[in-house]
């Protein structure tokens, strides 16, 4: 579904990703793990078109999207759920969700999708007129995920979905991501919490200094002595 070959990304002169290659098949849940500065977030930015790569090739469903505009990539079906501030703080919950469907013209379907999301996350419905910035961290995360789903993506990129959340919310977030995958949406996830990420994902890529150093299924990597020592602290 998604194929990356020899990806190189730079911030000015600093290379953040060097010659990275990876592949994601339809319906998979793939995670990228690695230390700070390994190039995980950069890779996601390159996929969604926010940061055009210097070299390499990214294809999605057979189409070359290496230097496509973020808008085009979104239209093809890749939604990006960026890390950090995940919502538009002064817009209401409803408006945030509407922004998620910004490129869609099918009004009736948008309303249906929104109804479905509200059924899934009743708390968002009860707070729909509240400014998103006043929601709790967990609620904001739900909103961010819901917003990403409002574009009806085929592939969702999650950047650090568990960052800054209380442990029980982290678990809840991972449950939601699992649910998304169960609906047939492909997921690529960047995660600091290597243990949780490996447990959750079908396959995983371990990144170090902008390169893939290891790859395998979640359970393979969980039992790999090197991964254990470096990322799981065991």
């Amino acid at each position: 579904m998604l194929k990356i070959e020899g990806l190189v990304c730079r911030y000015g002169k600093v290379a953040a990703v060097r010659e990275l290659s990876m592949e994601v098949a339809q319906g998979e849940l793939v995670s990228l793990i690695g230390a700070n500065g390994a190039g995980k977030t950069t890779t996601l930015k390159a996929i969604s078109g926010v940061l055009p790569p210097v070299a390499g090739r990214i294809t999605f469903l057979g189409e070359d999207i290496t230097r496509a505009a973020p808008k085009r990539i979104l239209q093809l079906g890749i939604a990006h759920c960026p890390e950090g501030r995940r919502v538009f703080p002064h817009m209401s919950v409803l408006e945030n969700l509407e922004m998620g469907s910004y490129l869609r013209a099918d009004r009736a379907d948008i309303t249906t999708d929104m109804q479905n999301l509200f059924e899934r996350f009743p708390i968002l419905h009860s707070r729909r007129h509240q400014a998103a910035g006043t929601l709790s961290g967990g609620e904001q995360q739900m909103l961010a995920i819901s917003r990403a789903l409002m574009s009806r993506p085929k592939l969702v990129l999650f950047d650090e979905p568990s960052l800054g959340l209380a442990p029980n919310l982290v678990e809840r977030t991972f449950e939601i991501i699992k649910g998304i995958r169960a609906q047939g949406v492909t997921v690529v996830m960047v995660e600091q919490n290597a243990f949780a990420a490996l447990e959750l994902s079908d396959r995983s890529y371990v990144l170090d200094q902008g390169r893939v150093t290891m790859t395998g299924t979640g359970s393979e990597l969980l039992n790999n002595p090197h991964v254990k020592a470096a990322y799981l602290g065991a």
Partner: protein, 346 residues
């Protein structure tokens, strides 16, 4: 009820020249009106897209100069043996030219400077305004430099031989400014409530996120700059044909600062904010003068009031009033808080 209030306000504003026979006060109102239009245009950039243009007066001045020059006609040597001359054009056409040329400059500045954001954008706009001021000062053949453009014709509208409206006297100019102000208000209102406006607000709120949901960042920033610059240009054109003399001082930095003060104290990112801020800080200096306070007291009062507003109402007067109003109605009726938060989100 809200609509009724708007109509009542408009009727009141329209009735002012009928009962006010003090021409000096009317002049003050006209000037405040022109500044309010400029402040509204700045608000589109500063309040809705979050970009601080500290060279906004450049668009105002470009509108004033372009409109005056088109209505006066001019001849300049672009090369030693190549002269370009333009015959005097009707004033309404000149004013449109002023608006369009200012908008065009907005487009150029927008394209150039939205590669840079924040402090860098501020610097680009400040330098732009300063360069334009120096051009106006030194390109004597075109602008008359410090001698200023004099005897700028006033606006006349009508069908020759049938009737003519002349905008020489103050009441006529008052209505003209009011009409342009209402048009600008309606345009901005429609714009910010449209898809494009939603995109602009999303940009202000969180630019990377806006890009990630498919908002074409540069396109909407440039669009906002064009509209904003065009409106500032229209305000400049109104100014030129009302005051009927334009000199390079229209580019002074202090006018930009005044606009920023009006927008920020009134409430940036609200439709009414620049109007309220513009009314207060546009009328205050003249009011203090009328009270015959000593000059230093006048400026100290102006400054202190500004500091007080910014300190106690950091979001501006309009949002503060709105919160207060909704707070009151929330106590009175139960379902109100929901409404209050949507309004606050706007």
């Amino acid at each position: 009820m809200k609509q009724g209030l708007t109509i009542a306000w408009l009727l009141f504003l329209a009735s002012v020249p009928l009962w006010l026979n003090n021409l000096y006060v009317l002049h003050v109102l006209i000037m405040a009106g022109i500044f309010i239009i400029a402040a509204m245009s700045l608000n589109l950039l500063l309040g809705y897209t979050g970009q601080l243009s500290l060279g906004h007066v450049a668009f105002f001045g470009i509108g004033a100069y372009a409109s005056s020059l088109a209505s006066l006609g001019f001849a300049v040597h672009l090369l030693p043996d190549w002269q370009v001359s333009v015959d005097p054009k009707p004033v309404w056409f000149s004013m449109l030219c002023g608006t369009l040329i200012a908008g065009l400059c907005g487009w150029a500045i927008g394209r150039l400077s939205f590669k840079v954001r924040g402090a860098y954008f501020v610097i680009v706009t400040v330098s732009f305004a300063e360069v334009i001021r120096l051009v106006a000062l030194n390109w004597v053949e075109l602008t008359q430099g410090p001698m200023a453009l004099n005897n700028i014709p006033y606006l006349r509208l009508g069908i020759p031989g049938l009737f003519e409206l002349s905008f020489l006297r103050k009441p006529a100019n008052y209505y003209l400014v009011l009409a342009v102000g209402v048009i600008c208000y309606v345009v901005i209102r429609r714009l910010v409530h449209s898809r494009a406006g939603r995109a602009m607000i999303a940009l202000r709120e969180n630019e990377p996120l806006a890009a990630s949901v498919g908002v074409d960042v540069t396109r909407y920033l440039v669009l906002a700059t064009i509209v904003s610059a065009g409106m500032a240009g229209a305000a400049g054109a109104l100014y030129a044909h009302y005051v009927r003399i334009v000199d390079p001082d229209v580019f002074l930095f202090i006018y930009t600062v005044t606009m920023v003060i009006m927008v920020v104290t009134g409430g940036k990112g609200t439709l009414a904010g620049p109007i309220v801020g513009g009314a207060i800080f546009g009328l205050l200096p003249e009011t203090l003068r009328a009270l015959e306070a000593p000059p230093e007291v006048q400026w100290v009062t102006y400054g202190v009031l500004m500091v007080l507003v910014v300190y106690f109402l950091p979001d501006g007067i309009v949002p503060a009033l709105r919160n207060w109003w909704h707070g009151r109605s929330a106590v009175a009726a139960a379902p109100a808080p929901e409404q209050a938060s949507t309004e606050a989100a706007r």
